[in-house]
Symmetry: C2
Subunit: 350 residues, 2 copies
């Protein structure tokens, strides 16, 4: 899945080139490309399916030129994850009704890839043998208030447990309790299931969405699929797979994993996961001369020199036509800033 | 005089387009153009002479297209103000041995232009009637430590006094004393004299410099002048007119004036002299959305949007390939920063 607009990283991530298409970690590969490389250890190339907004078709083709056009599913409208995952499931089931699927966001970081592969293979074994919807729960390392948590229930097999509850993002005190109990894991948004299992769950818990795709069953895997989607996908309700299915279904399991994961959902997360200069600054794509400045993240496009004095724990993001300077601790304001920029200047700086 | 490189305003002012060529105050006219407009109230257009480094020939021609080529004197090397002023004096004297001259920097701000004109006309009356080197001394409004001061001696005529001493930039306590006594005026670097008076003073106090120009006396005002300058100007010592002449000569006078002057020599001076937004920020050529931010100056080239949170009393200067973020109180470090950038990257960012 790589259709998000990454507005929390504005202006470095822009609607026209969101976060997942950027070489965010300076590795030479975008987050999408890193996710793709990681999945190729598990899934044959010809079975990889990319879901994105049609706006990003050329970015995906440019970054993953080895994929066939029919491996890139272009959403004609933004409808959150449930319709996206539903389309993928119907599309894949049309090709192989017995397929198993891993659903993964394209903008996350995973540092221990061998362990990731092991966890996913164990998860596939489980969902292939059981009528199960499996989510990967990440062992928390800090009382993070930016993630949802999954409370684990009875152990079932290996690292796999029944899910007791899904929780919303907790406040700090609650997050500390979650961490201490050892029963709560971060909700990674990575899922494993058989195509038939998720389709059955959609029919039961999200009949609106499933109904749309069932009506076009004959089109999937045929030249008709694109026309069917362009006519029917925009009519789907916009809803996440968590709300639509995971929090309602009874056959939901969590595999408790620990493979060095971050959703890179915030500048602070990116800062934490990036190599630091000796002065604890992080620089993205730019040269920095810093005086009395520590704990900053500089994300500046191009061959730009940044000279900075007396700045501590700031985000400095320059995207050519927009410069953002904001304390890391205030980054939750960025969405408001994007809105204010839109009110003042329309779409010019989005 | 408009040959300076304006390094204190780096990176907004660059070696390739220094401060005097920039519309620094957002008036639609560069500082050079504003200075030229101001002088045209006093000096006929055909008598204006521009001195600049040959590097800036095209900038001057572009900004002052109404001048003839022989009104633009191009220095083949940077030699501070004494050789520059000497050349101008010999050049003008060759055309009119009885000429009077006002020497003015091109990058200063003067807000009360009618009063400026009155002061200059009174000064011309004085230097035309006397063998006098006259400097304009600005009535100080604060204990500024960034300027040299002139201590006035006995009154001579109107606002004109003998000069008692020239002082270096004082420390703050001394500057406060200067302000209280009422005897000290800011050294503006604006001079009035007859051509013959300054040439005589150069011969007496800077015989090296005068000797160079005396040797070429026949060339001034002829087609030979350019060749003579290109061969001989670089051999002049680099020295200011203050050191070379004003601090040595006996016939030095100061006219005490008060016409709203700033040398715009620092970001803080520019901030003080610029219109403020309601949140006390100053913006140059850019749109700014500011949160919890006051007292900043944003100097950003082009159509850029700056979004800033939690910044107080900073300079934010963006020149396309260089971004500077520095507390206003630390701006004396900027020269060091330019040096550091040069050490690290050569001339690339100068």
């Amino acid at each position: 899945m790589c259709g998000g607009i990454g507005s929390r990283f504005w202006p470095y991530s822009r609607a026209s080139r969101p976060k997942q298409f950027i070489d965010f970690l300076g590795t030479g590969r975008s987050l999408l490309q890193m996710s793709y490389d990681r999945i190729l250890d598990i899934v044959p190339r010809e079975n990889v399916v990319i879901l994105t907004n049609e706006q990003y078709a050329s970015l995906v083709r440019e970054q993953l030129p080895e994929l066939r056009d029919d491996q890139i599913l272009l959403e004609p409208a933004r409808r959150n994850t449930a319709p996206c995952i539903a389309w993928a499931a119907y599309h894949i089931a049309a090709r192989d009704p017995e397929a198993s699927i891993i659903v993964a966001p394209s903008d996350h970081l995973i540092t221990r890839e061998a362990m990731f592969r092991e966890s996913v293979l164990a998860g596939f074994d489980f969902v292939e043998a059981n009528d199960a919807l499996l989510t990967l729960g990440i062992k928390p390392t800090r009382p993070e208030t930016g993630y949802g948590y999954i409370q684990v229930g009875a152990p079932v097999s290996g690292d796999i447990h029944k899910v007791k509850t899904f929780t919303e993002k907790p406040h700090l005190e609650l997050a500390k309790v979650f961490l201490e109990t050892g029963e709560f894991f971060w909700n990674s948004g990575i899922f494993l299931w058989k195509a038939e299992t998720i389709i059955k769950a959609l029919r039961e818990h999200a009949p609106d969405v499933a109904g749309t795709f069932d009506a076009g069953a004959a089109a999937f895997g045929t030249p008709e699929e694109t026309r069917f989607i362009s006519e029917n996908f925009p009519g789907c309700m916009s809803i996440s797979i968590d709300f639509a299915v995971m929090e309602k279904a009874k056959n939901v399991y969590v595999e408790c994993v620990d493979f060095g994961w971050s959703d890179l959902g915030t500048w602070s997360a990116l800062y934490d996961n990036s190599p630091k200069n000796p002065d604890s600054n992080v620089t993205q794509n730019c040269s920095v001369i810093a005086y009395n400045s520590t704990g900053n993240i500089f994300a500046v496009n191009g061959e730009k020199l940044v000279v900075v004095d007396g700045l501590k724990d700031y985000i400095v993001a320059d995207a050519g036509d927009v410069l953002l300077i904001c304390p890391k601790a205030e980054e939750q304001r960025i969405k408001q800033m994007v809105n204010d920029a839109k009110l003042a200047y329309g779409d010019k700086y989005l």
